[in-house]
């Protein structure tokens, strides 16, 4: 039966950590030793520290000097020779570099198990807490965290975090899918009813199409009313129904400006629940790739790295999906794993490229 060892990391970059996790998962089928990643560094038998960052170098120096419990592995792209107690993992991270180091680590841990890997010394706990607190982006938890799942988006607050922006009409959308929003402009008394759960808005006069601008108006310029679904049909009896997604999508892209809407975090793990109709919403090759990727889900950093895209473009897309309530997200201080896929062969990629070229796509 395979023995499972826990491993964690400190100050790894958003590019390197997913690689490490994927390669760790390759050890799952090892009949002797498998490695499980944990976000809780206190529980790890081995700890990978990126010493190329100033914070990583600092924590390495402290932990290496203090006879800690866990086996330390220095991760670096530079020439580095550690003392015999520790190991070195060379960057860039590849399976051919990581797996031999894992084998060495498991050999040492099996032959000379630490007195306690489950409970770190008080000194280590203090050190870890101190240094992981500095990193910000990758907080390491002293206790395992529940990963909570939010079905759909919080309907409120589709604006970016900017205290100078007043509350806008689109921020008034109710989060309850059984409620609609009725908005009447104070100046022209135009009434529009938004039912986001049904992807519809209702207008008295089809000629009034400037809904995008209305959504961006300060909330103070309208009177608003939340309507129960049971009262909605009476309210909109003489109204014209129109599709809301074709208005919300470009509006979200327009105001996004590369900043996540309020309530979203760059640490969140996003997954799409339905496929945005990019034919109607405006075809964009990057959006198509992001949509395909987000069927399985991923973090913003994962998406950005994998597609070599700008983070701002990825965030704009996430915001747009969020505005349509197409996103599920998992949020936690623990970093959820990235999905793994079989790597597609170069021959297949080349074939697809030639098919596209032939068809003029």
């Amino acid at each position: 039966m395979s023995q499972a060892l826990k491993i964690s990391s400190l100050h790894m970059s958003d590019k390197d950590l997913p690689v490490l996790k994927i390669i760790l998962s390759l050890t799952n089928k090892d009949p002797q030793i498998s490695w499980n990643y944990t976000d809780d560094a206190h529980l790890a038998a081995a700890l990978v520290i990126d010493i190329d960052s100033p914070e990583g170098a600092e924590v390495w120096a402290d932990l290496a000097a203090n006879n800690h419990q866990a086996l330390l592995i220095a991760c670096t792209g530079k020439e580095y020779s550690s003392d015999e107690n520790n190991l070195v993992l060379a960057k860039p991270l590849r399976s051919r570099t990581i797996l031999p180091v894992l084998r060495q680590a498991s050999q040492r841990l099996v032959e000379d198990p630490p007195s306690s890997t489950a409970t770190a010394s008080p000194w280590m706990q203090r050190t870890l807490s101190h240094f992981t607190g500095l990193s910000g982006r990758k907080a390491v938890n002293s206790t395992p965290q529940e990963v909570s799942i939010e079905r759909g988006a919080d309907a409120r607050a589709m604006s970016v975090k900017d205290s100078t922006n007043p509350l806008r009409v689109l921020d008034l959308f109710p989060s309850d899918p059984d409620k609609a929003l009725s908005v009447t402009t104070k100046t022209s008394q135009i009434n529009v009813v938004f039912d986001r759960a049904r992807n519809r808005y209702y207008v008295q006069n089809r000629a009034h199409q400037d809904i995008s601008n209305l959504l961006l108006e300060p909330a103070s310029t309208v009177t608003s009313e939340i309507i129960d679904r049971k009262d909605l049909s009476r309210k909109i009896a003489r109204y014209v129904p129109l599709d809301l997604d074709v208005v919300l999508w470009p509006t979200a892209l327009r105001i996004s400006q590369g900043q996540l809407f309020t309530g979203l975090s760059e640490h969140d793990f996003f997954r799409l629940r339905r496929w945005p109709d990019l034919k109607r919403l405006g075809f964009n090759p990057l959006h198509l790739k992001l949509t395909a990727l987000l069927r399985k889900g991923g973090t913003i950093n994962y998406l950005t790295d994998l597609l070599n895209a700008s983070m701002a473009d990825v965030i704009d897309y996430i915001n747009a999906c969020y505005s349509l309530t197409y996103l599920d997200r998992q949020y936690a201080t623990a970093t959820p794993g990235v999905p793994t896929s079989k790597p597609i062969s170069q021959a297949r990629l080349s074939l697809f490229s030639r098919i596209r070229s032939r068809l003029g796509i």
């Binding site: 949509t291 990727l293 896929s341 697809f352």
Partner: protein
């Protein structure tokens, strides 16, 4: 050498033969017979074995386009035609009595193939009958715990067929 092929399936009259014709280098070779059942009100002929088209890449590599017969009674042909397919293009005729059930039937019957490859869905006839809506199709997929691209398309429009192919290729590249 194994064939490289796209599989077009879907409800009778949804436009599989037309879609293949839109990108094939020659008019599809069809095994059509005169319809004698309820389908005769929609189209005079129906495919009983397969449609076949192809296009050629720069290196003379042939890309085959196979259309399955739409009717479930010819499902034995489905099993034969999907062998080695790159992915599935499902066309659903929205003018039929229960397009949602049609989609569910094709997803069920091609479940294994889709699991190994991927699928994209084109809804035709929405200009004639606008319900069920694309949201309804997406709701169905969501209820089934599935997520596939769904587009309203006109199988006569080459750009629409290319959108399906492009989307399918992207899915295969990204998530295969």
């Amino acid at each position: 050498m194994s064939q490289i092929k796209f599989i077009f399936t879907g409800s009778p009259g949804a436009g599989k033969t037309t879609a293949i014709a839109a990108i094939s280098e020659f008019p599809p070779v069809s095994t059509d017979v005169f319809a004698t059942d309820a389908l005769v009100s929609v189209k005079a002929k129906t495919t009983v074995a397969m449609d076949y088209g192809e296009f050629t890449l720069e290196d003379d590599q042939k890309i085959r386009l196979y259309g399955t017969p739409g009717q479930e009674r010819f499902r034995f042909m489905w099993e034969i035609l999907i062998q080695g397919g790159l992915g599935l293009i499902i066309l659903i005729d929205n003018r039929r009595s229960d397009p949602l059930a049609d989609l569910a039937m094709y997803l069920d019957n091609f479940a294994d193939f889709i699991r190994d490859t991927d699928a994209v869905i084109g809804i035709t006839g929405t200009d004639v009958k606008d319900t069920p809506t694309l949201d309804d199709f997406n709701d169905l997929l969501q209820q089934r715990g599935q997520m596939f691209p769904v587009f309203a398309i006109d199988a006569r429009q080459k750009d629409d067929v290319l959108l399906l192919i492009d989307t399918l290729l992207t899915c295969l590249e990204i998530t295969c």
